[in-house]
């Protein structure tokens, strides 16, 4: 009895369906809220207790990894809340979906017009709604932070490079061609953003859902020793997928908050610097001035 692609609703809050994947997601959220509440109650600037020590070690570790991608402490600190939350939430909900009872404890519920037994728990990321929401959040936040960091027009010019076309027409000749080609590349980049959302959501959904189907099918074949190596594989897949999702979000954030290369302003700055004799060649010998 393979679990269906859409998570089954087990209760209704008014007309809002509460699905079994949603129950798992809420368990994860409640766990983190309670853990953070405990941490906040006992946080001290003096000698830290065991839990605070552990939390600080985790934060330092992630900050080091994020630094390796952004090469910039200020931006790392800005991105760490979102990226770290993605990683820890996805990791915990993937591992929570491996606990015994997931997929086997059933309740009777009205599903698609017939009363049947439906699993009470299901891995949270095996619901496409959750992964799609997280992927949309990741890409939209990266665009918003890009607009906030480098300004609206520079961000717009990445995709719809109107400024490049106009400059190309001003200079004439081959620059018209170059400007048009850069404009086309910008349009392709725009469709790549849609592909980013789809690939982020479908990758996580596909991995976790396929794992769930695999374990269910194995339970129906030989319920006792055979699923064990595959459950180990699912644990590894849970870690890898959480890492991939968080790292990809981080890379998108980093790329969109960097200054675009080859812009006109940079070339003008270099020319002015050379003309005034304060170009980069003189940076190493300040005493000679």
């Amino acid at each position: 009895m393979i679990p269906p692609i859409a998570a089954e609703p087990i209760a209704y809050l008014g007309s809002f369906p509460i699905t079994n994947a949603l129950v798992n997601a809420w368990i994860a959220v409640v766990f983190f809220v309670v853990a953070c509440w405990f941490l906040k109650r006992r946080i001290t600037a003096g000698l830290p207790g065991k839990f605070q020590n552990f939390a600080e070690a985790v934060v330092e570790f992630f900050l080091g990894y994020v630094d390796q991608v952004t090469h910039d402490r200020a931006r790392s600190k800005r991105f760490l809340p979102l990226v770290g939350s993605f990683f820890i939430f996805i990791l915990f909900s993937n591992w929570l979906g491996q606990l015994p009872g997931t997929g086997s404890i059933t309740v009777t519920a009205l599903v698609h017009g017939s009363i049947e037994k439906v699993p009470l728990l299901r891995p949270a990321a095996s619901d496409l709604n959750l992964t799609l929401a997280m992927a949309l959040l990741s890409v939209i936040v990266s665009h918003l932070l890009g607009i906030i960091t480098i300004g609206f027009f520079k961000h717009w010019n990445r995709f719809f490079a109107v400024g490049n076309i106009i400059n190309g027409f001003k200079k004439g000749g081959i620059n018209i061609m170059v400007g048009l080609i850069e404009a086309m590349v910008g349009l392709i980049e725009f469709s790549a953003e849609i592909a980013k959302v789809l690939s982020l959501s479908l990758r996580l959904f596909g991995n976790i859902f396929a794992g769930e189907v695999l374990i269910t099918v194995l339970y129906s074949l030989v319920a006792f020793i055979l699923p064990l190596p595959f459950m180990g594989l699912e644990l590894i897949v849970g870690v890898v997928q959480a890492m991939v999702f968080a790292m990809l979000s981080l890379v998108y954030l980093t790329i969109l908050t960097e200054k675009p290369h080859g812009s006109e302003a940079e070339h003008k700055q270099d020319e002015i610097g050379e003309a005034h004799g304060t170009g980069h060649l003189h940076d190493r010998h300040p005493s000679l001035a």
Binding site: I5, S199, L202, R203, F205, G206, N207, F209, A210, V213, V240, Q241, M243, V244, M247
Partner: protein
């Protein structure tokens, strides 16, 4: 050839063809990573994480075809 049997065939062929490309890609990737580690055994920590990232990217393509199979 009614619709149901065509659907079953399509499921099998989709997954079979859709798995070839990612399998070759991951094989090449890990082979290059092994080669690099063989040349410079100290860099195995630095190579491992990008290799895993690249393998997850390549595997995502196979996952797309798996999602098509589930949808059919």
């Amino acid at each position: 050839m009614d619709a149901e049997s065509v659907r079953i065939f399509t499921k099998g062929i989709t997954m079979a063809i859709g798995g070839i490309g990612p399998a070759i890609a991951i094989g090449l990737l890990v082979a290059k990573a092994m080669e690099a580690i063989g040349r410079n055994p100290e860099s195995s920590g630095k190579i491992f994480v990008p290799m895993l990232l690249g393998a997850a990217f390549a595997e995502a393509i196979a996952i797309y075809s798996l999602v098509v199979v589930f949808t059919l």
